[in-house]
């Protein structure tokens, strides 16, 4: 798959999401201003409960902001965005193949074109042999590969990823990170990737957004200086990487401690 197009551009301004319930209201995110360039790999890091998932869900159309605007320029793509969830979210009653095909069926892509694209997507993630398997017959890593194939096959302007590798074991995580970066380098899609791991964010992303604890705001945006294509293993062992990781951890540490202090009050 040659890179023909770059991904969607996103402009978020003054975004705010407040949840109101019987016990009062909670501000999940506020004053979020963010521009994502076409084809950028953007990571969002923050302590638990900083609203990073809320932001992603709003972008995915699964939640609605209380105020603020989001402009997505996804002209030229068949689909604006596709989300990859933490627990794969594969339908247990569909085979891998049918799961991957789901987003094409719902959008009325004709039969043979859909088959051709599913074929290519399965090949891309190395699951051609497992196409007839059901999700419960696959390992966690294979399930996430299927979920990634299901997202890629729709040819979305941007990929939204909510800690997709958090539940995997360390070896599988490293392998899938490398595969995702390779896929991204080949396809040039915009990726917005939520994680709680600084290391993951620095390894994969062009920029890393650090969010504050409740209410979630943008604390700092860091340009990750490592050029692409990247060799993730080599990169993670380098001294510059270690230094940057430490710097960012210092920033994040404050937030984690603040979030903890608030919980203990």
């Amino acid at each position: 798959m040659p890179v023909q197009r770059r991904g969607a551009a996103v402009e978020i301004s003054e975004l705010r999401r407040e949840y109101v319930s019987g016990q009062g209201s909670v501000v999940a995110i506020e004053r979020v201003d963010l521009k994502v360039a076409p084809g950028e790999f953007l990571c969002i890091v923050g302590p638990s409960g900083c609203g990073k998932s809320t932001l992603l869900r709003i972008l995915a159309g699964l939640d609605k902001q209380t105020s603020g605007t989001i402009k997505v320029d996804a002209a030229g793509w068949p689909v604006e965005n596709a989300m990859v969830f933490q627990d794969s979210g594969l339908f247990p009653w569909m085979s891998v193949e049918t799961n991957v095909r789901f987003g094409l069926d719902t959008r009325g892509v004709p039969g043979d074109e859909a088959s051709r694209r599913v074929e290519a997507a399965l090949k891309l993630v190395g699951l051609t042999k497992f196409r007839k398997h059901y999700p419960h017959q696959l390992s966690g890593g294979m399930r996430q590969r299927s979920a990634i194939a299901r997202a890629f096959v729709t040819d979305p302007g941007m990929l939204l990823m909510d800690e997709p590798f958090a539940a995997l074991d360390a070896q599988n995580r490293v392998i899938l990170q490398a595969e995702l970066v390779r896929l991204w380098e080949q396809t040039g899609k915009t990726v917005i990737y939520v994680t709680h791991s600084i290391e993951e964010a620095l390894l994969m992303g062009d920029r890393t957004v650090i969010m504050t604890a409740q209410p979630g705001r943008i604390k700092q945006i860091i340009d990750v200086p490592f050029p692409h294509p990247r060799d993730l293993l080599q990169l993670s062992a380098s001294a510059e990487f270690g230094k940057l990781k430490l710097d960012i951890w210092r920033v994040l540490e404050e937030e984690v401690n603040r979030a903890r202090a608030e919980l203990e009050q």
Binding site: L62, M83, F85, G89, W93, G103, T106, Y134, H136
Partner: protein
């Protein structure tokens, strides 16, 4: 002897032992054989009735009524249960109806149904429909309402229309619970139908049992009772096999 064969033996000992005890007591002259026939008398009568085709005839009538009512009843029940889970107004509309109509013993509707549908098969089938509907609608709703939230999110994010959500997500997500409802419904169908066949019909296992009571043919009565059990067992085994085929993703 392995633990498994031991368990199988134990499994058989209680029913066989009971039948044996029953037989021996009557052979020893304890109990009146005119009122309490021995298992051997029942077995003999069973064989006679199979040979004459009488049992097959009554069984066929009962099975026809059960399955006609079962299938007519479950289709709207499944649809209503799924729609209740998908759309709040549908649920609010159906909730009080179900809560008030479910506890009514369905056999109490028989006189009404006789007035509405007459003395033929239609009134019996209608009774089975009313009995099947409620366990299936409730189970379907519970199954669909408890589908993991992530599947709704995926469906929405991947552009699924309401009809796609209905057919490809909610239906399959609820399927294990739907089958739990079908199993209950199947048993309930036999229960209400045999009772309904006590009156206003000249065929069916229920008629056979009631008629033999009026003629004091106690052995025939037992043949009828055993037949209901056998028919129920066979149909529930078939239902389980179907379930295994259509729910391949249920982890083995």
């Amino acid at each position: 002897m392995t633990a498994k064969t031991q368990e199988r033996l134990l499994y058989l000992i209680s029913p066989i032992g009971l039948i044996l005890l029953w037989q021996l007591l009557l052979m020893a002259g304890i109990g009146d054989r005119r009122f309490v026939p021995a298992p051997s008398d029942i077995a003999l009568r069973y064989w006679e009735m199979i040979a004459s085709g009488e049992l097959a005839y009554h069984s066929a009538v009962t099975l026809y009524r059960v399955f006609a009512g079962f299938f007519i009843g479950i289709v709207p029940a499944i649809a209503a249960g799924l729609l209740m889970a998908m759309f709040r107004p549908v649920r609010i509309f159906f909730d009080p109806l179900i809560a008030s109509l479910f506890p009514i013993p369905k056999i109490a509707l028989m006189p009404l149904l006789l007035m509405a549908f007459g003395f033929g098969d239609a009134s019996k089938i209608a009774l089975v429909v009313t009995a099947v509907f409620f366990p299936v609608v409730v189970n379907t709703y519970v199954g669909a309402a408890n589908i993991d939230k992530i599947y709704w999110d995926v469906a929405k994010n991947y552009g699924a229309s309401q009809s796609v959500i209905f057919c490809r997500v909610v239906f399959f997500g609820a399927l294990p619970m739907i089958f739990a409802g079908l199993r209950i419904a199947l048993a309930v169908s036999f229960i209400v139908l045999v009772a309904a066949e006590f009156v206003a019909t000249k065929a069916g296992i229920g008629y056979l049992i009631w008629n033999s009571w009026e003629l004091l043919q106690v052995d025939v009565m037992f043949v009828g009772i055993v037949t209901v059990g056998v028919l129920g067992l066979i149909s529930s085994v078939i239902l389980q096999e179907i379930e295994r085929k259509v729910i391949p993703w249920k982890a083995e």
